[in-house]
């Protein structure tokens, strides 16, 4: 139980640590029971009243499972495929093929790193243009072999660096949106953790969009919004509230189709259960989508995004 915990997680972690310590001792069953009830109550109180910034913190939790943690728990035959065939292989994007319960699928996902070395190698999950182009290459191959596409979003944004600009960050994102609009196979989008801005939407156009319970999805990071609007990046909490970025917010706004439940306390509390929930959502959604005739699927996909927006006629 060592390592990094969020402020609001600490009381629970401490209680649970106490319970663990007592477990080895004799004649403390009653005390353990009492502490367990207390912990449950505390959890319920904390997790049923999370504010939007706390959701952001959970979505960015250093222990949160990433696609490469979840995939082995969902499939036995994931084959990772590399490179955009144009410039390079972007480790911030993981792509490949697999079967999940009989569904042959292509996977396109954003991957942060766990330790410092991997974080740097994967550029903290911020793709360069070649990452988006790798994603598109795999999606086009998926169309060729009639594989539905599952995308998993977890990114602080597209990489805001000079080299990314030189190689056409804008063009890469725009082209993905353009191509995904008419890609002739089902596309399921899952926001796993952080869904920030253009880097997220670049693999976010699909027939169904699902969000994990504690993920967030936003036009800009709360810090970015605060620093632009109020010239004060420490107003991130206010920005998170104003931007309305939780799974529940987006469901209410009609942007996403459904919410994938997470274990109590967040996905990082139980990777297996998280993987199970994600897997269940994938199978259920692909069952639905694969029965739709292709033409209807594509018409509905464009219709879905056509309807998004608030306009006073």
């Amino acid at each position: 139980m060592n390592g990094i915990w969020l402020d609001f997680e600490r009381p629970i972690v401490e209680l649970e640590r106490k319970i663990e310590e007592l477990k080895g001792l004799q004649g403390v069953e009653e005390e353990i029971q009492r502490l367990k009830t207390q912990a449950e109550k505390l959890k319920k109180r904390i997790y049923s009243n999370l504010n939007r910034w706390q959701h952001v913190q959970l979505a960015r939790h250093p222990r949160r499972p990433y696609p490469l943690d979840l995939l082995p728990l969902m499939t036995q035959d994931f084959v990772e495929l590399h490179g955009d065939r144009r410039f390079g292989d972007d480790p911030a994007v993981v792509a490949g093929i697999a079967t999940i319960d009989g569904h042959r699928i292509a996977i396109v996902a954003q991957q942060k790193g766990r330790d410092t070395k991997e974080k740097i190698r994967r550029n903290f999950g911020m793709p360069h243009p070649e990452g988006f182009r790798k994603a598109l290459r795999i999606m086009k191959m998926a169309a060729k072999f009639s594989l539905p596409v599952v995308t998993m979003i977890d990114t602080p944004g597209a990489y805001p660096g000079a080299d990314a600009e030189e190689r056409g960050q804008s063009e890469a994102i725009a082209t993905n949106l353009f191509e995904c609009a008419t890609l002739p196979v089902p596309i399921l989008v899952i926001i796993l953790g952080e869904g920030a801005s253009g880097g997220a939407i670049a693999i976010g156009l699909g027939d169904r969009v699902l969000m994990c319970e504690n993920s967030f999805y936003s036009v800009i990071s709360p810090e970015g919004c605060a620093s632009i609007l109020w010239r004060d990046s420490s107003k991130n909490k206010e920005a998170a509230e104003a931007l309305k970025i939780t799974a529940q917010d987006l469901k209410t706004l009609g942007i996403i189709d459904d919410i994938i439940p997470e274990p109590v306390g967040g996905a990082h509390m139980d990777f297996k259960l998280t993987a199970q929930n994600v897997k269940k959502a994938i199978i259920q959604t692909l069952d639905e989508l694969s029965s739709e005739p292709q033409e209807e699927l594509l018409t509905r996909r464009v219709e879905k995004f056509r309807k998004m927006g608030a306009v006073n006629e």
Binding site: A158, Y159, P160, G161, A162, A164, E165, E166, R167, G168, Q169, S170, E171, I173, A174, T175, L177, F178, E179, A181, T182, S197, G198, A200, I201, A202, G204, L205, Y217, S218, V219, I220, C225, I228, L229, A242, L243, K244, I245, D249, L250, L253, I255, R301, V302, F305, R306, M308, G309, A310, V311, N312, E313
Partner: protein
Amino acid sequence: MWFKKKVKARPEEKLKLPTDLWVKCDTCGEILYRKELEKNLWICPKCEFHFRINCRTYIKLLLDDAQFDEQDAHLEPADPLLFPDYKKKIKSDQEKTNMKEAVVYGYAKIGGIPVVFTAMDFRFRGGSMGSVVGEKVARSIRAACEKRIPLIILSTSGGARMQEGILSLMQMAKTSAELALLAKESIPYVSILTNPTTAGVMASYASLGDIIIAEPGAELGFTGRRVIEQTIGEKLPPDFQRSKFMLEHGMVDLVVSRKDLKNTISKILKIIYHGSPATE
């Protein structure tokens, strides 16, 4: 502080120019006679700097006889997130610009060819794209598709509009999806990039033209210069993300002076558009 800071009068303060008569070039500092500048299409005669002009000026500049049959001019932004101060800002921009939102679209002719012309306006919320901008751009694409006539979108934008949150981000998907349908019909789309076109707009429809034309010296890209400099911890050269840079990096087809813009568009349309408009 132990010393008193000397306040130097800045030259423009010393000169006290009547701004309705004289304008200073942002790039070379030349003092220009407003009437002359206007006649020169707001291009600095000394350094070719293209001053930012509004969408109404572009209508006069690019469309045959300045005729523009505007559509859906009444569409107004809502405040779907009840974002702090949003309504107030919209109202003040509406009063300032006499526009309901940051984009206009409608039917027109360029060099005798019927087109759908869509133009953004930087004065309104920095040309940012919220629901109404996305919706009007999407409708303009559909109009081109239905009438089977070329589409011209002139962009200028700081990106997606924060105050409409996720709804703004979705406009990137919406507009790009409509362009995918337009492309299937082989109807040409010419994207014109003016200063500046960045972020959400650059990463959607502005980058998806069959032909992309940039005005000289325009700032074009995904991430703004300041954020890039913070990210990489170094200063960027002045030409970074400017039109010429984008041309050299293969991101735009042409960099064309405002004076030649209309001619260039009509020349291109005459070659690539060989369809005939749909009859009523």
